[in-house]
């Protein structure tokens, strides 16, 4: 039991250094600490999936949860979405299955909101809604989560101004994803404009695409949409208007279908 205690203490000490180095945005050393901590975590038997009731289980669970939370923040700091997903999935059981063992974490809603935001940025809407179903009504009222839910709604509706306006974030770590989202939104706007307008003047396009400088707009168009045409300070969108009027009778298809009917009818009669 003593050895368990000393292990926890040692890990806690290391965790303190991890936290400070992440806070100081010293990511390289943070990553090194994290790797050491992960090895230490494997020695704790009170953690999922074993959940062994040891004397230090509560401490172990709390510590492991904090470590993983920091790991998620570290992933945001290093802008590594894959490691974010990995660490969040490891963290998730601590929020769902250990409720009866340890008190909820202060970071819980921030983490959940971050994850939702990530799914939104990656356009994994089905998973976004699956995650959303798991949240309690209280969680949905929390600012960290509410902001993401509103963002999703605005995106669905096409109220892009609203998305870009929401710069008030509940936690610094949200900024990374919000910035990514701005890019996604711009692509969305471009896709919509292509279909909805015949042409736009460059000035209008600049405001609609939320660019501040002409130069940015020009580089954006030449990089992302080289098929758009720029004449007389106007952007002309290439329209592929396929009014597929049925000029020819699709005879082969019709013959096939009719033969199919004949075969079926023969079976019936």
């Amino acid at each position: 039991m003593d050895s368990g205690n000393s292990k926890v203490l040692e890990a806690q000490r290391l965790y303190g250094r991890l936290e400070t180095s992440i806070f100081a945005r010293n990511f390289d050393s943070a990553r090194a600490f994290l790797n050491q901590l992960k090895v230490k975590l494997t020695e704790f038997s009170g953690l999922p999936p074993l959940y062994r009731h040891t004397s230090t289980q509560v401490e172990e669970l709390k510590l492991a949860r904090s470590i993983l939370e920091q790991a998620v923040l570290l992933s945001v700091g290093t802008e590594d979405q894959e490691s974010f997903e990995l660490h969040f999935l490891q963290l998730k059981p601590y929020y769902t299955d250990t409720r009866h063992l340890i008190p909820p974490s202060n970071f819980e809603y921030i983490m959940l909101g971050l994850n939702l935001l990530r799914l939104l940025v990656q356009n994994r809407i089905a998973e976004f809604h699956t995650e959303l179903e798991l949240l309690s009504p209280e969680a949905l009222k929390n600012d960290c989560i509410k902001i993401v839910v509103e963002l999703e709604q605005a995106l669905m509706e096409g109220a892009y101004n609203h998305v870009l306006r929401s710069r008030k974030v509940p936690h610094d770590s949200y900024n990374y994803f919000i910035n990514l989202l701005a890019k996604t939104v711009r692509d969305e706007i471009a896709g919509c404009s292509e279909k909805a307008y015949d042409f736009l003047t460059l000035d209008d396009a600049k405001t609609i695409f939320k660019f501040t400088r002409d130069q940015d707009l020009m580089t954006y168009i030449s990089e992302e949409h080289p098929d758009w045409e720029i004449r007389n300070r106007c952007v002309y969108f290439q329209k592929v208007k396929d009014f597929s009027l049925c000029k020819e009778i699709p005879s082969l298809q019709l013959i096939n279908q009719t033969l199919g009917y004949a075969r079926e009818l023969e079976r019936i009669v």
Partner: protein
């Protein structure tokens, strides 16, 4: 023993249905025995169905008498069980099955039947704690057995096992057991048990909104063609729910509508649930359910909030939609449809836009914003981007003129100059043909019926021969006459 005797008969006398109920139970037991000896699944199904018929009438007295009857060969355990009854009727019921399991001579099927009867009784009496204990004992006994003739009874027992845990709100505890039972059923090709357990597991996951796990299990487990209609209905319902959450609305609609259609009329609440979800999914798809959906007998009151909601979406009025969502929010939260309704806001806007684009060939964006009740500082530019998105998604067919700030609807082409009507016609024909083919496949014939048919064909030939001869005779006679 002398003391025990009146204890058995007294409850019997109390309820008039006692003796006839006992004979009912005995006939069920006889059915089970016959089913086991002939290995005929249908007899077992019929036995279980008969149990369901009398389940409301179960009385402790006759139940006790029945268990005694089943175990008639072993006096000792009966004695114990009867003595217990004196002390406490209910605790007796729980202890009884453990007595049964010690008996070697009794058919395991009858044992399980006893568990099932007691479990149903306890559940109907709302003795959930005891029901749970009884279910545990029954499942434990079941796990020791491996007989195909048990499958039908076992699947009912699984169902009540899960139900009794649900009633004490600890469904999460049995997930492991259910999974291992499902595994066993799959390995033994017990298809009925397999589909029952799969449904129970899905229900288990969905109870805690674990849609992800449910979908993973569902997509990875093998599923043979359904044996029981109820299980199919449930499966379709769960499938529909999962797909709704994962935004596969078209498939979800199919599953939910099918579940609602296939469910027996007696499963009233189930059909209401199906209809609620189906309504939302159809709204999310941009369809407006017919008025008759909400006017089905006995569902009017339950579907009222959804009716109001449909109305709001149909008109495309955001204000009305908001007030409906707020008014009925406790109901929607209870139905776990709250998040779906949040998603619907987008559809309200879409319908509103569509109505506008149909009514006006040209309208200013400011008017669009006013009609949609958009009330922010940048309402006009919001409206513009919404219209743009609607155009891209194909919701409306229009062009925006940014400089002059209006949206102009495009001329709609003549639908009959496209292939659309032909495709619709084809899909309808294909549906009818499929229905016919499915109906033919579902026909059932009694065994050996075809042999009789054959014999009668031979006879017919004989008869025809005789008739022909007779005709010849007559003809000859007629010839003679001339």
């Amino acid at each position: 023993m002398k003391e025990a005797a009146p204890a058995v008969s007294s409850p019997d006398r109390k309820d008039q249905a006692g003796p006839s109920l006992l004979s009912h139970l005995k006939s069920i037991a006889a059915l089970v025995e016959k089913g086991v000896s002939t290995k005929e699944m249908r007899l077992m199904v019929r036995a279980v169905r008969n149990v369901m018929v009398i389940k409301r009438k179960l009385k402790p007295g006759s139940l006790a008498a029945f268990v005694k009857y089943v175990m008639s060969t072993d006096a000792d355990s009966v004695l114990q069980f009867v003595k217990k009854q004196e002390e406490d009727k209910v605790s007796m019921e729980v202890d009884m099955p453990s007595q049964v399991s010690n008996k070697p001579n009794v058919l395991p099927e009858l044992e399980i039947l006893c568990y099932l009867l007691v479990l149903i009784y306890l559940h109907d009496q709302k003795q959930y704690k005891q029901a749970k204990a009884c279910a545990d004992a029954g499942i434990k006994r079941l796990q020791q057995l491996n007989r195909r003739t048990l499958d039908v009874l076992a699947s009912r027992l699984y169902f009540y096992y899960s139900l009794s845990y649900e009633c004490i709100d600890s469904l999460a505890d049995i997930r492991g057991t259910l999974l291992s039972l499902h595994q066993t059923a799959t390995l033994r090709h017990d298809e009925l048990g397999q589909e029952t357990l799969l449904n129970l597991l899905l229900r288990n996951y969905l109870h805690y909104n674990l849609y992800d796990q449910a979908e993973k299990l569902r997509s990875k487990s093998q599923r043979a063609e359904s044996h029981a209609n109820q299980q199919l209905c449930r499966y379709l319902f769960y499938l529909g729910k999962i797909r709704t959450i994962q935004l596969e609305y078209t498939d979800a609609k199919d599953s939910l509508m099918q579940a609602a259609r296939k469910a027996p009329t007696i499963a009233h609440d189930f059909r209401i649930q199906c209809n609620k979800w189906a309504v939302i999914v159809r709204l999310l798809l941009g369809e407006i359910p017919e008025r008759t959906t909400f006017m089905q007998r006995g569902m009017k009151a339950a579907l009222r909030p959804y009716f109001e909601l449909t109305n709001a979406v149909r008109i495309g009025d955001l204000e009305l939609f908001k007030s409906v969502a707020d008014n009925f929010s406790p109901i929607f939260s209870r139905d776990k449809t709250h998040n779906l309704i949040v998603r619907l806001r987008h559809n309200v806007i879409r319908t509103g836009l569509r109505n506008i684009s149909i009514s006006y060939s040209r309208i200013s964006l400011a008017d669009v914003a006013a009609k949609l009740h958009l009330s922010s500082d940048s309402a006009v530019s919001d409206a513009e981007s919404m219209v743009a998105k609607a155009i891209r998604d194909g919701g409306i067919d229009a062009v925006i003129d940014h400089a002059r700030g209006f949206m102009q609807s495009r001329e709609t082409g003549d639908i009959y100059s496209t292939q659309e009507p032909q495709l619709a016609f084809h899909s309808r024909i294909a549906f009818c043909l499929n229905t016919y083919n499915d109906a033919v496949k579902a026909l059932r014939f009694p065994p050996n019926a075809h042999k009789k048919e054959l014999e009668s064909a031979e006879k017919r030939r004989e008869r025809q021969q005789q008739e022909q001869e007779l005709a010849k005779h007559i003809a000859e006679e007629e010839d003679d006459d001339f």
